[in-house]
Symmetry: C2
Subunit: 163 residues, 2 copies
Amino acid sequence: MADEVLFEFLHMEIVSHVYKEQQSGKGEMDSKDRAVSVSVLEGMGFRVGQGLIERLTRDSPSFKDELDIMKFICKDFWTKVFRRQVDNLRTNHQGTYVLQDNKFALLTQLSSGKQYLDQAPKYLAFSCGVVRGALSNLGLDSVVTADVSAMPSCKFQVVIQKL
Amino acid sequence: MADEVLFEFLHMEIVSHVYKEQQSGKGEMDSKDRAVSVSVLEGMGFRVGQGLIERLTRDSPSFKDELDIMKFICKDFWTKVFRRQVDNLRTNHQGTYVLQDNKFALLTQLSSGKQYLDQAPKYLAFSCGVVRGALSNLGLDSVVTADVSAMPSCKFQVVIQKL
């Protein structure tokens, strides 16, 4: 329904706006322009993630460890933001987590398969930021990257930064 | 809940991004910068409104007249996008409509009352675009403006452009 796609539509508009803005006046974007665009989108996501997790954990008991936090992100948080649970969570028990979503909400508007795979990164920067922002508010510094091998399936890699 | 505020948070980020971008390098924004920002946000809203109404009216019977369309916007459309119905719809029966929402979703994150009234317009440009985009897809060209006298109450004025 429309209320579900509102976020997706708005997200599409932002991605397109941020990329256009970097490209303006130039023919092709170089890798620096792309990096700036990704960073802008990631930053927006970070702040949105912080806001969301604050709301979501307001009435939650505190978490017992890092894995407990990651499970919360994969279930409750993912459901609220991306409308389904993560399909698979793997970890090396040393601070690296791989979250696999086989039908990632922000990629379902795009054509499935491998045809537009080169376009995928720009639709994932915001979401990486959302996850990083949420973890940051729960006391975990992290690096979050995303990887797509066939749309709309997506893997997020979260590496917790130890002090 | 978080899924309800996701759109609001993202909207806040966009407004802040678009305004910052116009302001960059300058101390104060002049009226031209503000006009550009409003126009960018309105354009984003327009495209989102077009997409949403397409989804929403896919299975609807066609509308019998202009007033019928406006009623649909005030009830079904408003509920999906702004999570409540318009409180009051008035018309002069000559193509001008005033939609009053006493608790407008995108203003509830801001402080109530009259204190930040000068900040209100930037949070309404996107929504004006959404309404204009929806009407445009239903075959009505319009000019949509918004007016706030005390937050979070808001009046949208829609003037249908006759050919």
